[in-house]
Amino acid sequence: MHSLRERVYQYLISRWSDGQLTAIEDFEVLLGGYSKDTFKFDAVFDRAGQSLRSHLILRRDTPPVTAILNNSREREHILLNRLREHTKLQVPRSYFAELDSGPFERPAMIIERILGCTEPTSLFKSAATSPEAESVARQLCEQLAALHTTDARLLNADGLFNDPKGVGVRCDTWDHYIDTMIAYFIKHYDQIDFDVLPVLYDSYLHLRRNKPRPLPLAVVHGELNPSNLVFQDGKLLSIVDWENAHLGDPREDLGWFRFMEATSGTNFFNSINYPGGFLGYYNHLTGYDITPEELNYFQIFGFNNVADQAIASIKRRLTGQHKELLHLYLLRIVIGGTMAFTQLLGYPAPQPATPPA
């Protein structure tokens, strides 16, 4: 059997259009991406007698039973190229989406590898990097605002990003979107309850009882977290991992990002020197006037939307459908998430016992 590196070479040799491909070099696993198998490599090619190299990534689905996020490489490929065509967002170019499992054993895509730092905590280890952190936070905020105010018809004219999970979500109005998403959370509970999860269940009912005001639906990243940023010297070079993108409420991206900051040890949200910080600057750019209470609501909504499939994969692990260690490690996200929910939902602290008179 050919190694994956040889498979990549065989795949690209007939498809490479920029000169003559001569080698695949520096093929290595990339750590840190939990939801997909990710490998970095350089394609070395000859153009008019000059040897050049292209920095690339092979991003491959995991087997469905272990999949933390089950989604389509084709959809991600199309979105990346639409974003490059219709917006000024910094995203990697996607070259190929291969849905046939022949070449790489499972569906995969080959995308541009942006060279830069992918360790966001490095911006928050000392005061010396505060200006760089603010610069990256500000650019992120501007790019998010640009994404969320882009006419959804430009990116989603064919409805490709309506209900990409295929769970019956309706995107014709904001109310239908939120209502069908929450109905899905409630119905899907029996797919995630590896143990009894009353705080999560309570959160679904809270979302249903406390819907905020509507905002225009937009194509959202869907899993925006600090690890999905590539930056260097204070410049945001790229936002990556668009696999969970969908037509949704713009506040989902803000909510999930805010939520993941607590897990990731970063503080982009408080790094922008603007009244109201990140949220204030975002509101200034979009005119959406999102309140902290709405942000809390969408932290809960965003968590449930991103984590539903991941928790289902944990349940499959605990019911013996696969034997990956990662999924037990990811229990920490459920435990940390439910702890955060108790605060976001305003759970009351127990009253101290009254001493006898």
Binding site: Y201, R208, S264, E324, L331, G336, T342
Partner: protein, 169 residues
């Protein structure tokens, strides 16, 4: 408190990962031997987790009976050593026996069945709140007080290095 995965299931998952993810990567014979020792110790930990509580209680109660029995056996035997053994019979031998533990599986099942009813209770309270019953809001606060305490326990008991993710720091 989460009861799934159990402690034993968690250790078994680590053992499986050592076999399927780590062992194929080990090149030195020293590291391979270390892996075998680690797996042996983890298996030992599983056996202890499953048996230790019950064994300790059984042995505690057996020793109480033993100290009683030794004092009786020696009867009126004279000498300082016999006095000390009779004194142990009067002290350690009079300790009340400890109750037998509830088997871990049985305890988890009992706990789980009550926890499961919290889901139905939350649904019922939601229905009442949506119907405008303010007493249901107060009742929900009671449930949430309980959930806050147990969630905090889970956070303290289960998590190591909260705020970090392996491979992403």
């Amino acid at each position: 408190m989460y009861t799934k995965p159990s402690i034993v299931e968690t250790i078994r998952a680590v053992m499986t990962s050592l076999s399927q993810d780590i062992a194929p990567e080990l090149s030195s014979s020293r590291s391979q031997v270390c892996l075998l020792m680690a797996q042996s110790l983890l298996q030992s930990a599983i056996q202890r987790v499953e048996a230790e509580h019950a064994i300790l209680i059984a042995e505690h109660n057996e020793m109480v009976a033993l100290y009683q029995g030794l004092a009786t056996e020696l009867g009126e035997c004279s000498g300082a050593a016999a006095e000390r053994i009779r004194a142990r019979g009067q002290s350690f031998g009079q300790r009340p026996p400890l109750p037998a533990p509830v088997p871990a599986g049985e305890l988890a099942t009992a706990h789980h069945s009550l926890s499961q009813e919290l889901i139905h209770t939350l649904s019922d309270l939601d229905e009442l709140i949506r119907d405008g019953d303010s007493r249901a809001t107060a009742a929900l606060a009671q449930v949430r007080q309980h959930l806050l305490v147990r969630t905090a326990r889970d956070f303290q008991t289960h998590l190591v290095n909260p705020g970090s993710l392996a491979g992403r720091d």
